[in-house]
Amino acid sequence: MTATGHVMSSSPGTTDSTAPRWRYDPQPRRPDWGIHGTTFKNISKQTPIRIAPLPAQATLCLQQGPFTATPLVVPGERVLTGQPIAVDTGGTRIHASVTGRVSAVGLRPVPGPQPTRAPCVVIQREGDEEWHESCEPVADPSRLAPAEVCRRIAAAGIVGLGGALYPTARKLAPGVPIRALLVNGVECEPWITCDEVLLRERAASVIAGARIAMHALGAAHAVIAVEGDMPEARVAVHDALQAAGDSGIGLAVVTAKYPAGGERQLVQLLTGEEVPAGGLPRDLGYVVQNAGTLAAIATLFRSGEPLVARIVTVTGNGVAAPGNFEARIGTPLRQLVDLAGGYRYPPTRLLMGGPMMGWALPDDDLAVTKATNCLVAATAAELAPPRPEMPCIRCGECVQTCPARLLPHELHAALRRGDYATLAALALDACIECGCCDYVCPSAIPLTARFVAARRQDAAEPDAPS
């Protein structure tokens, strides 16, 4: 898909013939894929971000994206807020999010696609909050070498807060020339508003983080992408860009359509280019970073605080007062639910993440992780139980909606036959597991779950998360 025929924004500074071309579309046309419906975002974005009180107990999961960290503390040890308590082989650390005493190091139930257990460090809060001595601000990050910036980002435990938890420092050291940083503020999943309220209230912080990331990447350009249905966030970013007076960072407004905020879809919408199959945006000279991740980078250099908190949307008709909360990592989910007014109409499903790609949690006796962007307590009226599966009638709705331009109905038929050669020919590996085909299927076939299972079974290398 090319974006010819309408205005492309060209940033200054591209006159240098050796610099790779950089043009982006500030107002990409409405994509023909994806789904567009009620987004239920209004129920959680009416109030400002509230700071959640410090939890009495913090459960810190040592598994982050593809890596599992090794604990640096033992039970009984006293820890300060911001003190490293675990580190993984890539140098990404995990920090105590409260001041207190380590009460346990061991397997605990953690949020995941299926109910699962993972190594955790549990801290009981004691006394007043004390920050660890390593938390020192940096006055001017642009004077640091890019490698040093990345080292500090890894040491601060900053990972992709869009949900994939891929180490940010790795994405900021791609090893290839980068044309532009794409800032993902396109929060396309229904219900979730944590990035929207972040951009609305702390746009300057996101821009400061973007500038540090640009410095680490050696990229001259960046564009902040927001959705068409977040006017306040758009205005806030626009004003903050004006105030910052930086010509290297642009603003793009993307149609509010799921999954426009998928990494590959965003690259396509903004640049008209497609990330090659099996490749990453960096192969085209782009790096995509979630807005929340960039705000965490800004916080790190401004105040020295490592990643010990994140913004969580708590929403759904199953809670009385939905809103966004800045909560310490490890905060019990139940405490966030209570902050949001507690349960009502008893909810039948508790989701971490959005309703399209989120995980259904078995109970609320779990804790916030760095991936917890949203908690949806949904009633049966909001998220109905799955209907019985019917045969595929080849209506083609899945083909129309698929952002990867796959043929879900044919993939489904090939799976039924166990025809793995055809699955490969139909490019099952290009599936981004967005769930659009399920959403539109009149026969209620659990297509995405089957594709996910087939890919896991295939045991090929998983797509590097965003």
Binding site: I35, G37, P113, R264, Q268, E274, V275, A277, G278, G279, Y343, P347, T348, R349, L350, L351, P355, M356, M357, G358, A360, L361, P362, D363, D364, A378, L383, A384, P385, P386, P388, M390, P391, I393, R394, C395, G396, V399, P403, A404, R405, L406, L407, H409, E410, L426, A427, A430, E433, G435, D438, Y439, V440, C441, P442, S443, A444, T448, A449, V452
Partner: protein, 343 residues
């Protein structure tokens, strides 16, 4: 607090197969009313017979195949198939003819191929073409349209029902006296007799540009088709391509010699053109899936219909054209696959 664990996505569109089939039935209702007005209550009798047999056959087939029949029966697809078949049959059709077509459509064309979603051929058209081949005599005679200036013996509901069930007409009434050839048949036969279109259309079975009465039924079928487009049950590619595939060659010939070729509008408003374009060729199961594939499939239906009407021995060709394109669908699907993202 405990919650149910199911796999993503958790949010689904409310649409289902039964809802789609209901919309199709709603969309056919205005045309059914117009049809009954112009050609008497025969259509309703055909629908009753076809639907009863279709649902009975579906239940039997599901039972023989060991499927849970209640859920599958509730999808409404057998009913839609029966109604479409009934629309294709003459108002005076013996019950057993209708029953044969309906049983074949559901039992053979649908369930022998694996049931809903797996049938290669459009079941209604398969049933109709079986009847066309097996009992052509019963399918040739249509009733004259109720347009006022036609002198004919109209049949009441009771008389129609008696004929449908027993095959006997009221005393003193011959079948030949109550039935007339369809406009398509008249044109085909008369053009074969070297008469010109100008001479042919003075026959009162013709209206302004198509068959009398057929024009109104066509308008109501189009209305139903637009409803389905508006509701997102069908997409524009198949109807547009099919009508273009039929009318463009017709227009070409009409422009070369209007006296020996019926006009494109006559083609549009005759026989099964509009029903085929909006309700039959758009059947998702037996049609192509991608936009490009649907354009090819629709255009093929239109061109084949034209070819059969122009060169073939059947006056209409929609049913056979649809079945032939059904056969081509796997090939069309194969060659109209979109390029996956990033490939």
């Amino acid at each position: 607090m405990k919650f149910g664990v199911v796999q993503a996505p958790h949010w689904r569109n409310a649409g289902d197969v039964a809802g789609m089939m209901r919309e199709v039935l709603y969309a056919l209702a205005p045309a059914a009313v117009a049809y009954t007005y112009f050609f008497g209550p025969g259509l309703l009798l055909n629908i009753v017979v076809a639907a009863t047999v279709a649902i009975a056959t579906e239940a039997l087939a599901l039972r023989l195949r060991g499927r849970t029949s209640r859920l599958a029966l509730s999808d409404g697809s057998a009913l839609v198939c029966a109604v479409l078949l009934a629309f294709c049959l003459p108002p005076l059709t013996p019950w057993w003819v209708t029953a044969c077509g309906s049983a074949f459509a559901i039992g053979v064309a649908k369930h022998l191929y694996g049931g809903l979603g797996f049938n290669v051929f459009n079941p209604a058209m398969a049933g109709y073409v079986l009847l066309l081949a097996a009992f052509p005599g019963y399918l040739a005679g249509w009733l004259p349209p109720n347009v006022g200036d036609l002198d004919y013996r109209a049949l009441s509901l009771a008389e129609s029902a008696t004929y449908t069930v027993t095959g006997s007409l009221p005393p003193g009434v011959e079948l030949d006296a109550v039935t007339r050839a369809t406009p398509l048949t008249v044109v085909k036969a008369e053009l074969g007799q070297m008469r010109t279109m100008g001479e042919i259309v003075v026959d009162p079975v013709f209206g302004d540009f198509g068959g009398a009465g057929w024009e109104w039924i066509g308008n109501f079928i189009t209305l139903g088709g637009l409803w389905l487009l508006y509701r997102g049950i069908i997409r524009w590619q198949v109807p547009a391509a099919m009508l273009a595939g039929l009318m463009l060659p017709a227009l070409l010939l009409y422009l070369t010699d209007a006296e020996t070729h019926p006009s494109p509008l006559f083609h549009l408003y005759s026989g099964g053109t509009l029903l085929g374009a909006f309700f039959i060729a758009t059947d998702p199961v037996s049609s192509a899936v991608t936009d490009r594939g649907r354009l090819v499939c629709g255009a093929g239906c239109g061109l084949l219909t034209f070819a059969i009407r122009h060169w073939g021995i059947y006056p209409d060709g929609v049913a056979v054209a649809v079945l032939l394109m059904n056969l081509a669908v796997p090939t069309i699907d194969r060659y109209t696959r979109p390029r996956p993202y990033g490939y």
